[in-house]
Symmetry: D2
Subunit: 223 residues, 4 copies
């Protein structure tokens, strides 16, 4: 993961499926190239193959620490790797898992050459995850997710203290900020506070002009 980075969580918004999901990935690709800023997209599982075809880096929204074989209804890391994702997200506030599960996902991802972005709801959890050395941790206070109130404004201390806490455990782990991030200013503030990128969902996914929002956020990252 190259930083500063914009990670776009498609969630299961209708706009993330089918043609409109592909269009958003195409915007991401174009703007990423134009500004030379890393943009990663997280489409729903059924859309992963078509989004990868766009040529933008893809993270899965969740994954199970499994290889191929006799499992049903799960998302094996090994299959994701072969399909071409670059990484996986685990422990999103809408898909919480036990920290032991996170440990297994990180361990197998490293073997397979996949990156891991692990969400953390508070600083205690972020520190515990940092010990496991994922590629990156996203600090997301659950009460701000989808709130329209940006973490970088409503709880700036989460970012400053979180960055410090994670780096004190392992300085190589990147720290992103998420929850409620809506515009240029929210992103700029998040970077100013020490984060190395942002995780954004609704502000882009349900925007009338998602390309404008992406571009605005990328400019804030570049500043």
């Amino acid at each position: 993961m190259r930083t500063p980075v914009l990670v776009i969580n498609y969630k299961n918004y209708r706009q993330g499926y089918g043609d409109s999901g592909i269009r958003i990935a195409e915007y991401a690709k174009k703007i990423s190239e134009q500004y030379d800023v890393e943009i990663i997209v997280m489409p729903p599982f059924t859309e992963i193959r078509s989004i990868i075809n766009v040529g933008v880096p893809v993270y899965a929204q969740h994954a199970d620490p499994l290889g191929y074989g006799a499992s049903t209804g799960s998302i094996p890391l090994e299959a994701l790797k072969d399909i071409g994702v670059r990484g996986v997200v685990v422990n999103h506030s809408e898909k919480r898992v036990d920290l032991r599960f996170i440990a297994k996902v990180i361990e197998l991802s490293k073997k397979l050459g996949l990156e891991t972005l692990v969400c953390a709801e508070d600083i205690n959890v972020a520190k515990m995850i940092a010990l496991l050395e994922p590629e990156a941790i996203a600090l997301e206070p659950p009460e701000l997710i989808g709130s329209g109130r940006a973490v970088s404004k409503a709880k700036p201390e989460i970012i400053t203290e979180g960055v410090q806490a994670v780096k004190s455990i392992n300085s190589k782990v990147k720290v992103l900020a998420g929850a409620g991030i809506t515009n240029y200013e929210d992103v700029a503030k998040a970077i100013e506070l020490g984060s190395e990128g942002v995780l954004v969902a609704s502000a882009i996914m349900i925007a009338e002009k998602p390309d404008k929002v992406i571009e605005e956020m990328v400019k804030a990252l570049k500043k």
Copy 2:
């Protein structure tokens, strides 16, 4: 679901991904048409779109009782419907869920016009599920799954008693048998014992010639 039926669970076998997964779906389609017997396939989530393109009926391996919106890492029924699946499986032994979850999946599936195939590990559970009126219940004693010992031979009474128990609650609910079913004889026996179809995974998925196994099983269903 037309009965008798063969349901092929791709699980997460390597053979179920990419071109070989498509090939198995093509076999299913051809043999289904040739013998006029219903064959349903259950591919992994990332493969659903390409398998639907083959023109064979598809069930998802699991689903969440959700519409589009702010959820991450889950499998919303509403999106599956729009993508074109015909139904969903829930409570597979490798993806157990609470019975309340099953109730919600069945309820929303009915609203959306999706079929539901619910796995049951014993007769008590099968009866409770029958009250919820899914399209079908698959009786699968967990200890026989993947064992190569067919439920229809190793535990025939599970099928006879299970069929009777489910039908006594709701005669419209179809009953399939699964676990360890490997060949013509296992399928024939399952039908003879009163089931209306079979759920098969490894016997087809890791076969050298999956088309031969599918054809053999379909012949047994037709008998």
Copy 3:
């Protein structure tokens, strides 16, 4: 369980521990004898032995389907039986369990000669539980628990439909009503709607004069 019945859930209110918990059990015993109405109390685990000494019938607030042996931090049915409880409650809204777990608790309780009172949050769940033939089912809409708005007034149809649904599955299973029941009138109404008893917590436990509330409710049961 003799009906009509008053079941007092001590929950973990401070008043349910130590001397004040014993006093409430003594009130229950006295009023039960005076009016010849069954009253059952559900103390916290650590208080079970001292409350049993009072001579009032005791149900545990939860139990695990286990015998004696190598388990830690759980509540084995077999030990509860030997200690002298008459029954156990499972699936309270504050201690939800999977329906499979309920099936196991009911099965082992029958073997041991313990009664089971199973809480149900809606009519679907109540019907599924009725198939398992517990001693009794308590209908408790979660949104009314602790609300002060009695189920018998706010959602009377839950009781009438619930009683009918459970009895249509198994007429021997008793049906109690719970959630928000506060006074004489709430209890009288619950009985009038067809329930065979009530499950009450805060109205008694945090009352200034719990004996008065118990007596009032017992009069309503007797009416």
Copy 4:
């Protein structure tokens, strides 16, 4: 917790209930005083009050991070404190909880003045827990629990590496060893490898002469 320490997990062995449970606590008390070595016992919840009366330090086998109030079937820390336990165990292999739950238990225990002994199944988990600064961590490889093969002999490196890992995070956190510890030699070896005490269950609880086993182990701790 004074070290070296012997912690006796009563589990739910029949011998831990009633008079025989009290007898074992009395042995613990007597031997503890005689040898001036700390012995802590972990009785089942229903036995906590009678064992505390013996005058030996008691830890609960599990606890929930709750105060008094409207909860059912759980074990509130606040009530345990008032009853007189000195500490609580969480995350025993027979009662696993999420690491977030552990964080909450440790936090509330500190406020209440209760000690916490947290079990860890591997070194990764032990390190994560050490960040939360409990009183002590017990290293217990699950595959050895109840096996009769002592961790100190079968996996000595777990103890040496675990002690080092925990102390590198927080040198104040004590480290105990558990799983399969049966006799003098196993205890002596555990101490020699750097642990500050042992957690023992079946070797004492189902012994014909538990007092002899306790005494033997205490001698090994003193050595």
